[in-house]
């Protein structure tokens, strides 16, 4: 019997494939959760901050230079917290940006495969160490070292927290810069070498400039991560909001303030409770803006070399 004797099955279908359509809806629902999540963050921060700003004018919050929300009379000038955050970020950047870029250049332009096989896992381990561990290290390892040199340093100080935050974001800087440097076409390196230039000149005058937007974007992402860092600064940098640029003093960051207040029992609906959300909203906006800008720059950078 040849196959042509069989009735030909139809190529249309009456089956509704109900199960499969249900699964599709489920998948879509899961994907939509990320939108819901973002919306929820914005609403939660927005609602409580709105209540906060009914009591405190926005300009007092943004430009006030005194921050003691639980004293009487309370003061809600966020600048000391911003200043503390800035001090940490500047210090961390000073540690992580040059070392991260140097590491990326070394890995991309000089290192043997063997060196890469050692350094990459080390960086991954550094990136995987929980932040509370960095806080412990700042307190018990870095601070004693600093105090050995500068005797009048406080037990809590910005410098030790900044250094560990720098170590923490170093792997991120190194790996993103490494990506950027690798994206530079080899032809440019060869072209430069063929003109009789040294490795130093090729790296600093050709490769780094060509990768510059990618490198800067990675710096911005790392800085944004440092701004949101919480546990290390809570443990090591102190809890005294203050307008100072001296890294040896105790300060308080935005994130550390949020933790400090939430460790105590702050009842829902009080101004103290709303303060947390106002500071959180500021933190959210700052990091979001930095991430969006860096993301755009990175995308454009990748398009150039694809």
């Amino acid at each position: 019997m040849s196959s042509s004797d069989l009735p030909r099955p139809p190529i249309t279908t009456q089956r509704s494939r109900f199960g499969e359509r249900l699964i599709l809806k489920g998948l879509l629902l899961c994907a939509l959760l990320s939108i819901a999540s973002t919306t929820a963050i914005v609403m939660v921060l927005g609602k409580e901050s709105a209540l906060f700003f009914q009591h405190v004018p926005l300009s007092d919050f943004l430009f006030g230079t005194e921050w003691h929300p639980v004293l009487n009379p309370p003061r809600f000038g966020v600048l000391p917290l911003v200043c503390g955050t800035f001090l940490i970020v500047a210090g961390a950047g000073l540690v992580a940006l040059p070392i991260g870029l140097g590491t990326a250049i070394y890995l991309g332009e000089y290192a043997s495969q063997r060196t890469r096989d050692i350094i990459k896992p080390v960086l991954e381990v550094l990136a995987g160490i929980p932040t509370v561990v960095y806080g412990y290290l700042a307190l018990t390892l870095i601070t004693p070292m600093i105090r050995a040199v500068f005797q009048n340093t406080g037990v809590f100080n910005a410098a030790s927290a900044a250094i560990v935050v720098g170590i923490m974001i170093l792997p991120m800087v190194a790996s993103l810069c490494d990506d950027a440097i690798r994206a530079v076409p080899d032809g440019l390196r060869q072209g430069a070498h063929a003109l009789g230039t040294t490795n130093f000149e090729v790296s600093t005058r050709v490769v780094v400039p060509a990768a510059l937007s990618g490198i800067i974007a990675s710096f911005v992402l790392a800085i944004s991560r440092a701004i949101g860092e919480t546990m290390a600064v809570t443990l090591a940098a102190g809890a005294t909001p203050k307008l100072t640029l001296n890294p040896l003093e105790s300060i308080q960051t935005m994130t550390a303030f949020i933790v400090q207040l939430s460790l105590g029992d702050t009842p829902n609906g009080t101004i103290e409770y709303q303060t947390i959300f106002a500071v959180g909203a500021l933190l959210f906006v700052i990091t979001l803006v930095m991430n969006v800008i860096a993301g755009r720059v990175l995308r454009r950078f990748r398009e150039v070399y694809e």
Binding site: E20, L24, G26, L27, C30, A31, L33, S34, I35, S37, T38, A40, I41, V44, P98, I99, G102, T103, L107, Y110, I118, I119, V122, L123, L126, G128, I129, P130, T131, V132, Y136, L137, L139, L170, P171, A174, N199, F200, E201, S203, T204, R225, G228, T230, M231, L235, T255, I258, V259, S262, L263, N268, I276, F277, G280, L283, F284, T287, L288, N291
Partner: protein, 290 residues
């Protein structure tokens, strides 16, 4: 011919060598730093790390304090985080890679995921506090903590799972579809199994991040003094990083020693998980034929 140029090669070579050594120094510095940090932790915490430490509840007396409730609290929360985040994360990745047509909705979802990945973890704590603890009346429970952490690590899992799914060659999908399978059958039967090692690696790394996270749980009010092992999703809980934070923030040196012992325990758990991830990655690279 050579008088056209100043003979500056010697100086330039010196600069090049100096630069190379500086970069090499910076690179190896991270190895040194890691070594010093690990040595410091082990030197501080090794002596008090014993069975009694692992099997005791926290206490005001350093020599009686242990990490038992925190260890079990971590196990409970991670279990629930995995239960929630893996299906949701992988489902999102399948939707975006296998079904979603390029367009506004997909770009918007992608934008959201990218931005959520960069939101500071403490902001998730505020979200959890408001939505899960207060609004849904879950209280400061294991469940509320796990849900908060799920939102935190979802972007990481989604991004890793998408990469793993994208690495599956299109020829496999075409082959399945050409045999008359539906897209879901192809996704479930061929794409997902092929992408599984990559997904698993990403999931394990995301869960290790969740294990180490402290700020969101403190924010949503996980208690720092819990002298019992949680019995279910509705119980109060503490976790290892919270316990470490608690010990490290006390002024007495004895508690710092306990913090170091806790850190060794925590890092051992993380190391074990990462070893598993490395083994999975290694095996799949060996058996992969495309």
């Amino acid at each position: 011919m050579s008088e056209l140029f100043a003979s500056n090669v010697a100086r330039r070579k010196r600069h090049a060598n100096l630069f190379r050594w500086i970069c090499a120094g910076m690179t190896w510095l991270s190895v040194l730093v890691l070594g010093i940090m690990l040595y410091h932790i082990v030197a501080q915490g090794w002596s008090s790390l014993d069975w009694r430490f692992l099997n005791s509840f926290p206490s005001r007396f350093p020599n009686q304090a242990g990490i038992k409730s925190a260890l079990w609290g971590t196990v409970w929360t991670i279990g629930f985080i995995a239960l929630f985040s893996i299906p949701i994360g992988v489902a999102t990745a399948i939707h975006l890679e296998e079904y979603a047509k390029p367009g506004r909705l997909r770009s918007f979802i992608e934008l959201n995921i990218a931005n959520l990945a960069g939101v500071p973890s403490i902001v998730y704590g505020m979200l959890g506090l408001t939505i899960f603890v207060r609004w849904m009346h879950l209280g400061r429970s294991v469940l509320a903590g796990a849900l908060t952490m799920t939102l935190l690590i979802l972007p990481v899992i989604i991004i890793a799972a998408r990469e793993a799914i994208r690495a599956v060659p299109d020829s496999l999908r075409s082959a399945g579809l050409a045999l008359g399978a539906t897209r879901w059958q192809v996704a479930w039967g061929h794409v997902l199994p092929s992408a599984l090692p990559g997904i698993l690696t990403g999931v394990i790394l995301a869960l290790s991040r969740a294990i180490g996270e402290t700020a969101p749980l403190i924010m949503m009010g996980a208690l720092t003094y819990v002298a019992f092992v949680p019995g279910g999703p509705g119980d109060y809980f503490t976790t290892m990083p919270i316990q470490i934070f608690n010990w490290a923030s006390r002024p007495q040196h004895e508690f710092h020693t306990l913090a170091a012992s806790g850190i060794i325990t925590l890092l051992s758990v993380l190391l074990a998980m990462n070893t598993i991830a490395v083994i999975i990655r290694h095996r799949s690279q060996r058996s992969r034929t495309w």
